[in-house]
Subunit: 366 residues, 2 copies
DNA sequence: CCACTTTCGCAACGCTGTTGCCAAAGTGCA
DNA sequence: TGCACTTTGGCAACAGCGTTGCGAAAGTGG
């Protein structure tokens, strides 16, 4: 760690606090208290941020007997990022500002099996569509993006992949994507940095950026069952960036067979119960898996999302909550709360944009 | 992050590399490469470490055509720590040097149910017993330790507790310890900093300090079943420092009742199989739990330990390994290796000492 | 013996956050 | 209205961080 990284570290720290403060803003002295830096250091760093256009003064607080504190806020328009949710049958693209607010979106049908060239071209067009007019001036073959305030493009898609290298492992049902270097291919076509990740990780990251503090698990129950883990504000991806395989956790030894080849996986049991219309059992099974996870990691909160959960949100929240409450009664501690994940349908695309914004605010090892 | 924390951060970084290098030592240029610092910065920092007596020159490497590199090594005697393993029927105390080598140990029978005063006195005596002669000069009522090179005492014991505040939650079978502020009570009696943690976390930390790199899970199968999780070199304790509840992970919905009040816990199934003499089934059940953990966290390696594992190490390693290999075949990735944890009986006490040494080397949020 | 390579320390430097001090901008009482 | 007081925040000087430039030290090889 040298002085340059110290500088950017502290700048990112302050930017993160400015982002968290949102539209209300935050004063220099509050920033000093929260970071442990001296007020004068905060003044210096925020002066640099104001010079760069990333922060601005925004009114002042009421006086407490002396000079009133000047409120600082993030300038959301100073930069933006694009998030792409690449699903099996459609692509969703959003453009967000520094605060994470959606300032443009686009949605298009897509056949993930149509071949990599067709898919990449469709993504390129959809991304170009959310950019401000004039950004797309290059030739169809060349880089699509010339806008210098665009920090990058984050892409989220289902299935295991190598987040570090940006290479897909498998996309269920589409073997032609095995081993495809998605990040490199897209970065070349778009001309900006590209980050790829699993859809569940993107959704979890979006929740973290959206104000969810501490450590939590986002459980996504849709056509499959997966999890995104956030530990201490950062997404936990594991040694080979394959963490979050929640659905194929075995909770019924020698139980009914699962598509993965094992038996008694949460996913198989849970989706089986859903198919039978037994949502109570589905929620109980999901809760058992969640309780295992809570015991292992001691997280703050469990968040539920996905199409299947959306069909009966209260039933799932209550059912999973009941299992966690029973567990809490046994251990003698407060139960870990269960809530519905905010954001709904567009959460993955918005979270994908956070793959790019995260490093700006000191998240995600950037 | 200010300049003082920057300084100690880089110093800890170098100390950690010196420790990892062990007796062979490491040259300044290698340190520079591994830290990303310039060689000159490494020279300055190591000069300070040598002034403080923490590092020393130790010979030189063969020349590669120019001046040979000077080898630096950690001075193990520059500081030491005491680790206490407080078990239900005995207390084990070790004193280790900076390198983690045991330089003194003591073992005494102990009744954890004999009341806090008796237990604390016994711990105090055992700790005093491993200290160099002359350290224990204070009156029986006053602080026991006057040795300034003693960095602190780490205490590991079974059962859930609050690592942050040093307060016990419950010790199974000994309700009189509920809510006992062990850290404060011991710190007062010993006169040095005290850190308390679960025995499984201490063992895992000891393995990490003993050369185990990256992320791993230590599974301890003895009278109970628990886990210590190390993620990126640091012990993961979770929001309320209760992480690692591996044994009460449910892997058999509505299965046989467990002592915890739930049904189908790994611990109940595994120990039940052991009681029946069916070690193959015990290993398979343990492997199922380990596979769930591996999928969720994507760790590098699974390490097994504990008295029950020690009765048939090969059977457990092979049985758990088989489950993980089957999982790897399904996902198409390399199997996560399973190994026997090094250290054996004394591992927990040695690991407890690392609770104190960890922060010196930049581990554990110190 | 001398040219060459490589390591490593001294000195000067740029930059970090910190400290001391003072102007700015309020409140509140006489 | 005026003045003392409180609180904020900028300017300037500063100590200390890692970096750069350069030269001495300590080897190898012809």
């Amino acid at each position: 760690m040298n002085l340059l990284s110290l500088r950017s570290h502290n700048a990112a720290l302050l930017l993160d606090l400015l982002r968290t403060a949102g539209g209300e803003g935050i004063s220099r002295l509050e920033l000093a208290e929260r970071t442990g830096l001296t007020p004068q250091a905060v003044s210096k760093i925020t002066a640099r941020l104001r010079e760069d256009g990333l922060a601005a003064e925004a009114g002042r607080r009421a006086s407490t007997g002396g000079k009133p504190r000047t409120v600082l806020r993030l300038v959301p328009e100073a930069g933006h990022a694009v998030g792409v949710h690449l699903d099996r049958d459609e692509v969703r693209v959003v453009r967000v500002d520094l605060r994470g607010t959606v300032v443009g979106q686009r949605r298009a049908a897509l056949d993930l099996g149509a071949g990599s060239e067709a898919v990449l071209a469709a993504v390129r067009d959809a991304v170009a569509g959310v950019l401000p007019a004039g950004s797309d001036e290059a030739s169809p073959e060349g880089p699509a993006v010339l806008d210098p305030s665009l920090l990058g493009v984050g892409v989220a898609l289902p299935g295991p992949l190598d987040h570090g290298r940006g290479v897909l492992h498998r996309v269920t049902g589409f073997p032609e994507w095995d081993g495809f270097p998605l990040r490199a291919a897209l970065a070349e076509r778009l001309g900006v940095p590209v980050v790829v990740d699993k859809d569940t990780n993107a959704a979890a990251l979006g929740l973290a950026a959206g104000g969810e503090r501490g450590s939590f698990a986002y459980l996504h129950l849709g056509t499959g069952l997966g999890a995104g883990l956030v530990i201490g504000g950062n997404v936990h991806r594991g040694a080979r960036t394959g963490a979050g395989e929640f659905g194929h956790q075995v909770i019924q030894l020698d139980g009914p067979p699962c598509t993965c080849g094992d038996r008694g996986c949460v996913e198989a049991l849970c989706l089986g119960a859903v198919a039978r219309g037994d949502l109570g059992e589905a929620a109980r099974v999901l809760g058992a898996g969640a309780a295992n996870l809570v015991g292992l990691l001691d997280i703050d909160v469990v968040l539920l999302g996905g199409r299947t959960v959306a069909t009966a949100p209260e039933a799932f929240v209550a059912g999973v909550g009941a299992v966690l409450q029973a567990r809490a009664r046994r251990t003698g501690q407060d139960a870990v709360p269960v809530r519905l994940a905010a954001g709904g349908d567009g959460a993955v695309a918005v979270g994908a944009a956070q793959l790019v914004l995260g490093p700006v605010f000191g998240r995600g090892g950037g």
